[in-house]
């Protein structure tokens, strides 16, 4: 389980730069990110080392921010690693809203952030299937 920070961004130049600058000035490190966009707006999703503080300062900077529970799944960094996880999730009827990969992982493990429809159900399924996911504190320390 982990807290993802989601930020609403208009599709105009300089907005992403502004968010990242605000975070950088506050000494917050971005661990993973993705942007979902339409022609009008985008949603920036972030995993940072200090989500509570990040939420606070982005809000103070005037952004619309929300926190979302996501799950960071560990998988072998080899061909078929993700496919195997997705396959097992499908067997368990776990609906995925979206996913994105972690930046700069080393070693032979990859880390992928999942937003699932039912996070409790996902955790139970992962435990029974032996799918490993990273605990919150461990994730922020990366």
């Amino acid at each position: 389980m982990a807290k993802q920070i989601s930020v609403f961004l208009e599709n105009k130049s300089g907005r992403l730069a502004h968010v990242t600058k605000v975070l950088g000035d506050a000494g917050i490190n971005i661990r993973a990110l993705s942007i979902a966009d339409t022609s009008d707006f985008g949603i920036l999703r972030l995993i940072v080392n200090d989500p509570i503080n990040a939420h606070k300062i982005l809000k103070e900077a005037g952004f619309t921010v929300s926190e979302t529970e996501v799950i960071a799944v560990r998988m072998p960094d080899s061909p078929g690693g993700l496919a195997s996880v997705l396959d097992q999730m499908s067997e368990e009827n776990l609906n995925i809203e979206y996913l994105y990969a972690f930046l700069g992982m080393s070693g032979n493990e990859a880390l992928v952030v999942f937003k699932v429809e039912d996070i409790k159900k996902a955790k139970i399924s992962f435990n029974s299937k032996g799918i490993k996911f990273m605990e919150e504190q461990e994730l922020y320390q990366l």
Binding site: Q4, S6, F8, L9, E10, R15, A36, D37, T38, D40, F41, I43, R45, G62, F63, T64, V65, S66, T68, E97, Y98, K115
Partner: protein
């Protein structure tokens, strides 16, 4: 030079003013006796019907505003019992309370006379084939134009709005000589006509009466040059009767206001003071012949000036200058009246939406488009695109049904809407009118 009613249209001003005074006195007596809301207003102002002894005394009477229509919704301003009402029209696109107009049999007759006069001034005769593309329905444009054209004895095509290709086909196949529509639609039809590859020489189109939205002299030139027609500006509004209150003649030096049926004043919109002849200000209209819904000193909010000099066309009725501005924040978009407050009340009905919004009006390809920008608050923000798109869709549907026009909704970041001196700027009108 074509007149519908030469005697009335070219009446010497002295005689015209006699007629106006007689009709004004009668109207004031009637509203005082039959409309409690008027009686209350006049009593409050300390004016009795017998105090109105000359046209100059008009200024002692209280104003009527759109708010009075709301306060007396739906039939409180009617001066006749419902059994004498034969028609009800109402203003387009308002949410809470539309402006309601009732008509007696005589009112319908008067309205048809007024529109016949306007259409004749714009060149219509019994031989004309007139296509009405204003909307038929509660909106006064369609039926107003229709009855006027019939009155003349012209052949009327009740095409109503929409389906531009069919409009062009009708004009072409049925030998339409005159078009009644919004000026912007005249240009939209033109573009469709060009796309369809038809020959101009196969059309009998000669003139048009255009209204229901503000348009500039430049737009008139554009319509006249492109279509090779004579384009006339017709003025009116639901509260007054509908279209037919004023129209410009062949000289196009202002719109002749039917002064045998209406009295016009120009006031300072801030103080309400009547301004001297020739001044620019807000147009205030008093009806002289309306039975069901007489109106005394109605504040139209339209900004103009009046020229009472006799026109080269021979008409003696005063001419109002083409109306390009308003003294309130009402927008006219494709013939529909839109107030920012209406947008606000619709937004407030959607759970979680805060009334932080801005209206952006653009004119693209001669059609006005309204975009409503709404700030995304934390209450409605989601990390999923689908949910935000559903929200946009929901807002857009609510606005569409509430305002009566298609609205593009754009979600924006908080505080991105321009605020000046603490007050949000609600309207950005980028139309070059």
């Amino acid at each position: 030079m074509l007149y519908w009613d030469h005697e009335k249209e070219c009446m010497p001003r002295e005689k015209l003013q006699e007629l106006q005074l007689r009709r004004l006195k009668e109207t004031v007596y009637r509203v005082y006796s039959f409309v409690p809301a008027y009686k209350a207003k006049m009593d409050e102002a300390g004016v009795k019907p017998q105090d109105i002894k000359s046209l100059a005394d008009l200024k002692y009477l209280p104003f009527l505003t759109k708010q009075d229509f709301r306060d007396n919704y739906p039939f409180g301003l009617l001066a006749v019992p419902m059994r004498d009402v034969v028609r009800i029209q109402s203003s387009s696109g308002t949410t809470g309370k539309p402006t309601v107009a009732g008509y007696t049999k005589n009112d319908i007759e008067t309205w048809a006379e007024l529109m016949a006069r306007c259409m004749t001034t714009a060149g219509a005769t019994r031989d004309s084939v007139i296509q009405i593309t204003w909307g038929y329905g509660l909106f006064t444009g369609g039926l107003g134009g229709h009855y006027g054209a019939e009155k003349i004895g012209a052949a009327v095509l009740p095409a109503s709005g929409g389906n531009t290709k069919r409009q062009v086909q009708l004009m072409h196949d049925y030998g339409v000589t005159m078009l009644g529509c919004t000026p912007s639609y005249a240009l939209v039809i033109y573009e469709e006509f060009q796309r369809m590859g038809l020959k101009r020489s196969e059309f009998k189109f000669k003139s048009g009466i255009f209204g229901a939205e503000p348009w500039s002299e430049n737009m008139r030139k554009e319509i006249e040059t492109k279509w090779e027609i004579d384009a006339h500006d017709v003025y009116g509004m639901t509260e007054l009767v509908g279209p037919g209150v004023a129209i410009d003649c062949a000289y196009k030096q202002g719109l002749h206001l039917a002064e045998d049926h209406f009295i016009a004043e120009i006031i300072d919109p801030d103080t309400g003071e009547v301004l001297p002849e020739g001044s620019h200000g807000e147009l205030v209209i008093t009806s002289l012949t309306k039975e069901a819904l007489p109106i005394i000193r109605y504040r139209t909010r339209d900004l103009t000036s009046i020229n009472y000099e006799k026109c080269d066309c021979g008409r003696t009725h005063g001419r109002i200058k083409k109306i390009l501005g308003r003294s309130d924040d009402m927008l006219i978009i494709r013939g529909v009246n839109v107030f920012p407050s209406m947008v606000e009340s619709i937004l407030l009905q959607i759970p979680g939406i805060e009334p932080q919004y801005q209206l952006i009006v653009e004119r693209k390809n001669n059609l006005d488009r309204l975009e409503v920008q709404v700030e995304v608050s934390e209450n409605v923000f989601s990390d999923e695109v689908r949910k935000l798109e559903e929200l946009e869709d929901k807002i857009s549907k609510e606005l569409n049904s509430g305002l009566g026009i298609a609205v593009k909704v754009r979600l924006v970041e908080p505080q991105s809407i321009e605020r000046s001196e603490g007050k949000a700027k609600r309207i950005i009108d980028n139309r070059k009118i």
